[in-house]
């Protein structure tokens, strides 16, 4: 799969150095013996330590901190000294209507994104792929990728400036004597707005994987189909679509597996303006219960619930992908 990388590294790097004395090959056997020596392994092991330490401390250390979900956190006693409450936090959570509202909201927004965001990068990729004028194609690609690198803070601010009460669109509508639109800060418009924001930010970036798949399609298949009399639509239907279907299916399955996650930063930035009824998702629920409300044990329980279900869903999605003969993300 990393063939592209390998090819580059091969052509750019190997040529000068492979002119080294051929002795390297003659003494290969001796070298391999030396390589298996423990000194080599120890040096590599040392190289591994900073990164390994990071993962052990900040991932597995923090992961262990999830015991707080089974405790009543008392700041003075710390994580380990706080009293156990068994499944008390989870019982409270399951009876909490606000929690279930947050779960429903999360699922709703995720479903809307799958329905309305997911096809956009695909459509854009298909459009870009048909462009034979490479200069234009590169330019549009560059422009379309850009918003992916802009922070959510800036994206939300840009949407406020363009669609807000005193923004660009309402300015023009007002000047034209038309009625203005109430989008920013309106709970009823919030879900479509979040989808629009995701499309603006990530649709361009999302084309990369489809374009990579499209570039793999054998040109001769198109040529053969054209010679057999297939027009553009039939070529699309019988050559293009079957070729990229595995990628589409895989991405869709993986998105379904990740259905409990919708942009946390995006929602948090706008939750105060539109209120929790529209914008509360599981992650913001955890944030407001824990970081704002100080109910750490309860919030951690909600976070752990999401983590476990989410991991199971991703795992299941991966299994389904394998079952369908796709490659999956985890091997």
């Amino acid at each position: 799969m990393a063939a592209v990388v390998r090819e580059r590294a091969g052509t750019e790097a190997v040529t000068p150095s492979s002119r080294r004395p051929t002795g390297a090959f003659r003494s290969r056997k001796r070298f391999q013996n030396r390589r298996s020596g423990s000194r080599r392994s120890r040096a590599l092991f040392l190289l591994m330590l900073p990164g390994l330490g990071y993962f052990l401390l900040f991932h597995y250390g923090a992961l262990a901190g999830n015991v707080i979900a089974f405790k009543d956190y008392v700041p003075f006693d710390g994580i380990w000294g706080s009293p156990w409450v068994g499944l008390g936090n989870f019982q409270r959570m399951f009876q909490d209507a606000e929690f279930w509202d947050a779960v429903l909201n999360t699922l709703w927004i995720a479903v809307l994104q799958i329905a309305f965001y997911f096809p956009v990068p695909l459509a854009l990729a298909l459009l870009l792929h048909t462009l034979t004028w490479t200069t234009v194609r590169r330019f549009v690609q560059s422009v379309a990728y850009l918003p992916h690198f802009i922070s959510w803070v800036i994206v939300v601010a840009l949407f406020q400036q363009v669609l807000g009460d005193t923004g660009l669109v309402n300015g023009y509508l007002g000047d034209a004597g038309l009625s203005t639109v109430d989008i920013i800060g309106n709970p009823d418009a919030f879900r479509p707005l979040t989808v629009a924001q995701v499309i603006w930010k990530d649709a361009g970036w999302g084309t990369i994987i489809f374009l990579a798949a499209l570039s793999q399609v054998d040109e001769q298949q198109y040529e053969a189909a054209a010679i057999d009399g297939a027009g553009p639509w039939r070529r699309f239907w019988h050559v293009t679509l079957p070729a990229i279907r595995p990628v589409i299916v895989l991405l869709l399955i993986m998105r379904l597996g990740d259905i409990l996650s919708v942009g946390f930063e995006q929602m948090l930035l706008q939750r105060d303006a539109v209120g929790p009824e529209a914008a509360e998702i599981i992650d913001t629920f955890v944030y407001y219960q824990g970081m704002v409300g100080g109910d750490y044990g309860f919030a951690a329980a909600a976070g752990l619930f999401k983590g476990v279900i989410g991991a199971l869903l991703v795992y299941a999605a991966n299994k389904v992908a394998h079952r369908l003969g796709e490659q999956g993300v985890y091997k």
Partner: protein, 295 residues
């Protein structure tokens, strides 16, 4: 590399299709560019013109950089800009070091504990630790209200690690063997052979880290007191949440800074991304990413 390369078998596109395509492409470009243009224009207009026009300007009649002078003249935004720059530079260096060393060790066959460590690392991708435990850990480590809290908890990104590891693995074995025959140890091989060959991959990963550090605001809101905030968090508080830049925001002492100043902050937060973007763009085409995305 001819610009118009239409294969011989492909029929000449109909004018209507051509027009529809052109409209779609222009729409995409405008949708991305116009919001930035509005922000930039508004920041360069005079406060009076912005008020007269109802909050925004598409083309300032008398451009002025007064808004930029105000916010870069000491005060919250100037300080926040320094914090963001510092965290981005230091964080990227730390992240690159730890990612490169771990990725290199994991890319070589037969390293002691390599397989379990790889599984350990990939598992974190599936099961992140969660916000509350991470916060409590940072607190117990005494990192609260230190700039380290913005760097250490996010030191290594698994995706970047996998990209680099894949790249290192793609370097032909003969090169490693040749270097080792010349008597180079593992550190030396990494420094003198692997890294010089991996410039494109390092640039992409480094820029990814830099963009992530620059754009980060949530951890700052969790871990830092407001006088230590980086630019994005300042932007979030004063522009997105609309608290209005207070008298300490600019040296002028303006209460509720005008729209022009808010837009100037927005521009300053965006410009570094626009500056590094062409470099990122240059390396996309080298296939580093497409290879990684697919694997």
């Amino acid at each position: 590399m001819s610009a118009h390369a239409r294969p011989a078998w492909m029929e000449k596109p109909r004018p209507l299709t051509q027009a529809a395509k052109a409209v779609a492409l222009v729409a995409v470009v405008l949708l991305v560019c116009v919001p930035f243009l509005v922000i930039l224009s508004t920041s360069l207009a005079s406060p009076e013109e912005v008020v007269d026009n109802g909050g925004w300007v598409l083309w300032p009649t008398e451009p002025t950089v007064q808004a930029y002078r105000d916010i870069l003249d000491g005060g919250i935004v100037t300080h926040a800009l320094g914090v963001s720059a510092g965290v981005t530079v230091v964080g990227t260096l730390f992240s690159l070091f730890c990612t490169v060393t771990l990725a290199y060790a994991l890319s070589r066959p037969g390293v002691f504990g390599g397989r379990p460590v790889l599984i350990l690392v990939l598992f974190t991708f599936l099961f992140p630790p969660g916000m509350i435990p991470s916060f409590l850990l940072v607190k117990e480590l005494g990192l609260l209200d230190s700039y380290g809290s913005l760097i250490f908890p996010v030191l290594i990104n698994v995706f970047n690690l996998v990209v680099l590891r894949g790249f290192f693995q793609s370097i032909p074995d003969e090169l490693y063997e040749a270097a080792r025959l010349d008597g180079a140890g593992d550190w030396r091989v990494l420094w003198s052979v692997v890294l010089p060959l991996s410039k494109a991959a390092l640039a992409v990963v480094g820029l990814f880290y830099a963009v992530a550090y620059w754009n980060s605001w949530f951890y700052a809101s969790l871990y830092l007191e407001s006088d230590h905030w980086p630019l994005q968090q300042v932007l979030r508080t004063y522009v997105v949440a609309g608290s209005g830049l207070t008298d300490t925001a600019t040296s002028e002492g303006t209460v509720n800074a005008p729209q022009t100043v808010q837009m100037a902050v927005l521009v300053i937060a965006t410009v570094p991304i626009l500056l590094v973007y062409p470099f990122l763009q240059k390396y996309f085409t080298k296939g580093v990413l497409t290879g990684a995305v697919k694997s």
